[in-house]
């Protein structure tokens, strides 16, 4: 199904953070969260279910770092294909209870091409292998998220499109005084226009530095593209209280920004780092009544 058809009847609620939920279940410091798709499938399925129960109509997969390049850092590249297919299967398992969509998550390589840390062909190969592995488990779409570098995003999109699945490309705007640039200086307008031109089915923003900045980013993307917009904010900057990261933003604070976000044209909304099923429930409470009964 095309992304446009999915949101034809109104915006869709997506999910919240996965990493922090897995940590609460015992994922250790420096351990690869994606490896839990194979080693702790029950825990990954439980996180997936918790978001479906909270009302997510779009569920991501625990595969953000499961690219050959990122896994090589953990010495786990050999498990790449299985980790990705298992990730899709766990989310599908939970999503099938309500018919929610499963979007397979693909993160950036973590290497800067412009610094010579990785070549274009290495990036293309890494994204291609991960996207093919994900596609073989039949998610509803591929989500390339937390992108900073426009060139890397273009390469990832080219690789993802060869699977024939719909592709969403989402950027992290967390730099500059207004927090409206990616690390490499890209603006929402540049990102949206470039991705539409390169054939993305939707564009958006995730992570960032708190939901306050997202309505503006969303409106600025809307001004230059007609593509559906994907918006997934984090819960702001954490403060450290007795050694633990604590986010000041409450689920209610977070959800208070939803009307502005939807008014700015968001077709999908959810949470990134620091959010939890409670945040998704709070968003669901404020959700417009445009969701057809058969989808609830």
């Amino acid at each position: 199904m095309k992304i446009r058809e999915m949101v034809a009847h109104g915006p869709l609620l997506s999910d919240g953070a996965w990493g922090t939920q897995l940590q609460a279940r015992g994922l250790g410091l420096g351990e690869c969260p994606d490896a839990w798709n194979l080693s702790h499938p029950e825990d990954v399925c439980a996180v997936a279910r918790s978001y479906i129960e909270a009302g997510s109509r779009v569920l991501l997969t625990n595969t953000f770092r499961a690219s050959p390049i990122a896994l090589a850092g953990y010495g786990l590249a050999g498990q790449m294909a299985r980790m990705n297919t298992a990730g899709v299967a766990h989310s599908r398992d939970a999503a099938s209870a309500t018919g929610a969509y499963v979007f397979a998550s693909v993160g950036p390589s973590g290497k800067l091409m412009m610094a010579g840390e990785v070549t274009e062909s290495e990036l293309l190969q890494s994204f291609r292998l991960q996207c093919e592995a994900l596609a073989s488990a039949r998610p509803d779409a591929l989500l390339l998220e937390t992108m900073s570098d426009l060139e890397e995003a273009r390469i990832a999109l080219a690789a993802a499109k060869t699977t024939g699945l719909p592709v969403i490309v989402s950027f992290a705007f967390d730099t500059g005084r207004k927090r409206d640039r990616t690390m490499t200086g890209i603006t929402p307008e540049q990102a949206a226009a470039a991705m539409e031109e390169a054939g993305a089915d939707a564009v958006g923003a995730n992570c960032g530095n708190g939901i306050e900045a997202f309505a503006d980013v969303c409106a600025r993307m809307r001004a230059v593209t007609t593509l559906p917009l994907w918006m997934k904010a984090n819960a702001g900057m954490p403060c450290i209280v007795s050694g633990e990261a604590v986010y000041d933003t409450t689920p209610e604070d977070f959800a208070a920004h939803l009307p502005q976000l939807l008014a700015a044209g968001a077709a999908f909304a959810g949470g990134c780092c620091g959010t939890s099923p409670a945040f998704i429930r709070a968003l669901g409470k404020g959700w417009p009544h445009a969701i057809p009964a058969d989808r609830l």
Binding site: L29, G30, G73, K111, A115, T175, G185, A245
Partner: protein, 215 residues
């Protein structure tokens, strides 16, 4: 006569090829390496920093400028060493234990090298012992710790505590940085400084090395 403004411009514009070419010409004319560093390259890096703070430059421009400066330094360093000149400072840098993210750390390392520091890049997921080793065996006087994840920030505290236990904490300045790191956190764990971005990190290191810092 070589035009020294060309070296300044080459660094500012991130033109490594030209930076190397002008450096060669200048050396052939007998200009002192330190004169090129203090007279052209450091002012250029100061301007790069100013443009970064003004949000006219972003990470790509910083990287290119650092690369141009490194290209020139590669020619100057052997000459400085032959003259018995010490590097402006010795830095041990790494992403703390449990954290594999290294883009920010690499950027800071690169800019420090461009700025004349001798940099011991310990990589990512670095155990505290390896920082201690770099202090004891390589003579690092500045330790830069990076973390991108909220869950690995506590490793910064652990590293600083380990430096104390090993009795080397007083010998060094410790600076911390990375997306989730804040000034408050830096103070709480007893770091000597917080680098909000790569540009500030270099300024901190220069200050620690007793060099001038642009205001």
């Amino acid at each position: 006569m070589v035009d020294r403004k060309r070296l300044y411009d080459a660094v500012l514009n991130g033109d490594q090829k030209d930076a190397v070419a002008v450096t060669e010409e200048a050396l052939a004319e007998g200009i002192e390496p330190m004169e090129l560093i203090n007279g052209c390259m450091i002012p250029a890096m100061d301007e790069v920093g100013r443009l970064y703070e003004a949000e006219e430059y972003f990470v790509p421009e910083l990287l290119l400028a650092a690369r141009a400066m490194k290209g020139s330094m590669a020619l100057l360093r052997p000459l400085l060493a032959a003259q018995g000149a010490e590097p402006v400072g010795r830095v041990a840098i790494g992403t703390v234990k449990g954290d594999l993210h290294d883009i920010g750390k690499n950027l800071v390392a690169s800019m420090l090298e461009g700025g004349g520091f001798e940099v011991f890049d310990l990589g990512a997921d670095v155990a505290p012992e390896r920082f201690i080793e770099a202090i004891r065996e390589k003579g690092a006087k500045i330790v830069c710790l990076s973390a991108l994840l909220t869950v690995t920030m506590p490793s910064m505290r652990v590293t600083i505590e380990a430096l104390k236990s090993a009795g080397v904490r007083e010998n060094v300045k410790v600076f911390v940085g990375g997306a989730p790191v804040t000034r408050q956190f830096a103070e709480e764990i007893g770091a000597d400084g917080y680098g909000e971005n790569a540009n500030v990190a270099v300024a901190l290191a220069r200050q620690a090395a007793g060099l001038s810092v642009p205001v």
